[in-house]
């Protein structure tokens, strides 16, 4: 995929959606008695839906990176997840004064 191409942008948008899910929604609840997962289905493991996602703008620094490898290419996709949760946590800190360090951050954490 070429940086700036539609599929590359699509990959990054997907990564941002995953980041939003990790920051605000997704958690596996474990039953402390037996160690089983309590929400192992799509109804109870809450992943982002369309209304959870605003508009996402994707831009690339469209330059080869010869330090990573000799042909100057990089992967795209999962790496886009990394910055999303910190950005959201910083925004929450900015808005509320609460410095939250556990994900997901849910409404009860800022009350």
């Amino acid at each position: 995929l070429r940086a700036g191409s539609e599929p590359a942008e699509s990959q990054v948008r997907g990564g941002v959606v995953w980041g939003i899910g990790a920051a605000l929604r997704e958690a596996s609840e474990v039953d402390p008695r037996y160690g089983g997962f309590l929400n192992a289905d799509l109804a109870e493991y809450v992943i982002p839906v369309n209304a959870d996602i605003g508009s996402i703008e994707v831009d690339f620094i469209d330059k080869p990176d010869p330090l990573l490898n000799s042909i100057g290419v990089k992967g795209v996709g999962e790496v886009a997840i990394v910055g999303v949760a910190p950005a959201i946590a910083n925004a929450i800190y900015h808005a509320t004064g609460r410095r939250l360090r556990d994900l997901p951050i849910r409404l009860e954490d800022v009350l």
Binding site: E6, G15, W18, D52, S55
Partner: protein
């Protein structure tokens, strides 16, 4: 090889013995009356005889079970329902088990596998179809409830090689990555447009939130539906 076979027969008969002794089956009466009371001397022989009889009994039990299964399926055949469905404009007369979901009828009986089974519990929207023009999760409704209904699935949208405008829009706006949710998203998008819920991005996002996309192609999905709604 013989040792292995012996061990397997042994395990098999042990299982049969345990199963029958639990349920007080006739086999136990036979062995009980043949062998008599437990004494230290006859413990071993009792076990070996039980294994023998158990093996024989379980071998004869197999045809019995098969006969039982056949009688059940005859019973089921008597309960089959006759249903007429108009699927993608084609009338189909079907003989269905009343317990079959509409999704299973589409996928398993009619081989229309474009409609996907994601969660089978109405949480993901991958199985969305149009039923009488309205979008429904086909996993959550029984086919027998819809005698005479008109159903549109993803297979019914394209006219030969000419894709439906919403299908084209999904490709143009990258409304998908892996594509598993896409047939559901497109059918749901058609419903969303038909309901008049596609006037703004916010509105589309709200009314498309019953369809989950794990790849995170939501912005592309919204753009595709907005495009197709504007073009109509």
């Amino acid at each position: 090889m013989n040792g292995d076979l012996e061990r397997r027969v042994h395990m098999f008969t042990q299982e049969a013995r345990m199963a029958t002794s639990e349920h007080d089956a006739p086999m136990d009466d036979i062995t009980g009356s043949t062998i008599g009371a437990d004494t230290p001397q006859n413990q071993v022989s009792r076990r070996s005889v039980l294994q023998l009889v158990g093996g024989a009994a379980s071998l004869t039990a197999i045809p019995c079970n098969l006969a039982h299964a056949v009688s059940i399926s005859r019973q089921e055949a008597a309960n089959m329902a006759h249903v007429r469905l108009i699927i993608n404009g084609e009338t189909r007369l079907l003989e269905l088990d009343p317990r079959q979901s509409l999704l299973d009828v589409l996928r398993e009986t009619l081989d229309l596998t474009g409609t996907k089974k994601g969660c089978n519990q109405g949480a993901c929207g991958a199985c969305t179809i149009l039923l009488g023009g309205k979008r429904v999760n086909s996993c959550l409704t029984l086919a027998v409830m819809h005698d005479g209904a008109e159903i549109t699935t993803i297979e019914g949208l394209a006219k030969g090689d000419d894709l439906h405008p919403l299908q084209t829009a999904f490709i143009e706006h990258e409304g998908l990555q892996c594509g598993y949710c896409t047939s559901g998203q497109i059918m749901s998008g058609l419903g969303c447009i038909a309901e008049g819920h596609a006037h703004s991005a916010d509105e589309i996002q709200f009314w498309m939130s019953g369809n989950i996309c794990r790849c995170g192609a939501y912005p592309g999905i919204v753009a595709a539906i907005a495009d197709a709604a504007g073009g109509d």
